[in-house]
């Protein structure tokens, strides 16, 4: 059964006074309104969230939201796949409709993080690592530093190419009213910012963020009855790589990205050349290169050239992260994959405002951990 997206929303991302309950219900209500769906029509509700218990002491958030939105007695479930919880939520929502189990599925992703110190938040996120890594004080930014050094040394890529990713995504974020930062930065500023995990600096990393995002899924048939503007989930794939990062055969190949995008391309019957726009999980600048290579847009060791020659800019051949990416939009863990879906939906139905590019086919790649879990989603404009 064809699965369509008929509505989407996101809250302002950033440092918010609201706690998770309010963030989730705000995005959820706006999505119901955007889709023109009443709460009692919702048959399945998925809540993507990585760590509400660890961050806030609140668990059972799917029940909290189901009750607050009045979608009872819908089936409800919390989806945790660390940083790719949002993408995993898209997968679950797609499955629920594709299988015939639900005709109307609401997905809401959210995380509340900024009330913790940077050290505490870093520790909560680092707790996803294997105990043999955690005891050494590994952090996700440290994995990025280890991988970036290897990439730069092995492929002789200029350090500046990573800064260009940050500059591009900050520039795109200026046009996103919901982005945490709506501020351009310069390459010089990025290259002179403080070192966080050598060779990576402050502007190579996404911020810590509060926020929520939501999408409404239904059958393609029902979508045609309800609206003229919808998008179709034409391909989706999910894959898992080694938990222990150093056990991978090649530190620059994210197998989860390769496998999940292969699966999504096959289902959609398209290839990387058919993409018009993509949202990639730029939690760290180096990840944009690894994903461009993993999804087959660039050969191994060459994606940095696309940052240097402008291919991935908004006016380039393949705009990447028109939303501003995690880098400038922010990264509320469970919300991020959903917000990627929101962006490509808005691009496909022509609702992206000043960020709008011409797009019939779009891809979103949501990475959990340091490539531990990956979901790739391909959506196409509804006809």
């Amino acid at each position: 059964m064809g699965v369509a997206v008929i509505g989407a929303s996101m809250t302002k991302f950033g440092q918010r006074d609201a706690w998770l309950q309010e963030l989730l219900s705000q995005a959820g209500e706006e999505c119901l309104d955007d889709a023109g769906v009443s709460p009692n029509e919702v048959e399945h509700l998925y809540v993507s969230n990585m760590a509400s218990g660890e961050f806030e002491g609140q668990t059972g958030v799917m029940n909290l939201l189901a009750h607050d939105l009045g979608v009872l007695p819908a089936y409800s479930e919390r989806v945790d796949q660390t940083s790719s919880s949002g993408g995993a939520g898209i997968y679950e929502a797609w499955q629920s409709v594709a299988s015939g189990a639900s005709e109307m599925t609401l997905l809401v992703g959210g995380e509340k993080m900024t009330h913790k110190t940077t050290g505490q938040a870093t520790d909560i996120i680092a707790s996803i690592t294997h105990p043999a890594e955690y005891k050494h004080g590994i952090t996700l930014p440290s994995f990025a530093g280890l991988t970036a050094r290897h990439y730069l040394e092995r492929f002789d890529a200029p350090r500046e190419s990573l800064a260009r990713v940050a500059v591009k995504n900050h520039k795109n974020g200026v046009d996103n009213p919901n982005a945490q930062f709506q501020k351009e930065i310069t390459t010089e500023k990025a290259l002179e910012s403080p070192i966080i995990a050598d060779p990576l600096r402050l502007y190579d990393f996404c911020p810590i963020t509060d926020g929520s995002a939501a999408m409404m899924f239904t059958t393609e048939e029902r979508a045609k009855e309800l609206t003229d503007e919808y998008a179709v989930v034409s391909g989706i794939g999910g894959a898992t790589d080694t938990h222990v990062v150093h056990e991978r055969d090649d530190p620059t190949i994210m197998r989860g990205v390769v496998e999940s995008s292969d699966e999504a391309y096959e289902m959609a019957g398209i290839g990387p050349d058919d993409l018009d726009v993509a949202e990639l999980h730029d939690m760290f600048t180096i990840l944009e290169f690894l994903q461009l290579e993993g999804i087959g847009v660039a050969d191994q060791g060459t994606a940095w050239e696309l940052a240097m020659d402008g291919t991935t800019q908004k006016d380039g051949d393949l705009p990447i992260n028109t939303s501003g990416g995690l880098k400038s939009k922010g990264h509320p863990l469970g919300a991020s994959g959903v917000a990627q879906g929101v962006e490509i939906y808005e691009q496909l139905v022509g609702e992206a405002g000043p960020r709008q590019v011409e797009a019939e086919t779009a891809l979103a790649c949501n990475v959990g951990g340091f490539g531990n879990c990956v979901i790739t989603t391909i959506m196409e404009a509804g006809k």
């Binding site: 050494h136 004080g137 222990v244």
Partner: protein, 127 residues
Amino acid sequence: MTLEAGICPNGHVSYPTHPRCPDCGQEQEETTDLSEERAEVVTWTKSTATPPGVREPNTMAIVEFDISHLDLEDTFVRALGQVTTEDVETGDVVEPVYVEELRDPDVGLKSANPESQDWDGYRWDPV
């Protein structure tokens, strides 16, 4: 103390050990101790934003042990660890040095249940 890597019947080697081989799914029935072996730095980072209970800065490296002398399918095995110094480069040869506590188990998210995992292990000391 040992730095144990697991070996499956097909000669695949991993550090740390797993109940089943990550490559082929067979049981890892044997182990090899790497604590007396030398390794080479594949890549490294110096982290200056460390979580509670972790030294700052924290220099870490992924190193590669040559195990070709074991005559198995796998000829090398890699491991992540802290480095004893901030002065390290890719390609450096290192030796494992045992440390009782790599970070303070009584601080941070796991401090409520420090017994849930080990906190001792090996740092890499450039030769």
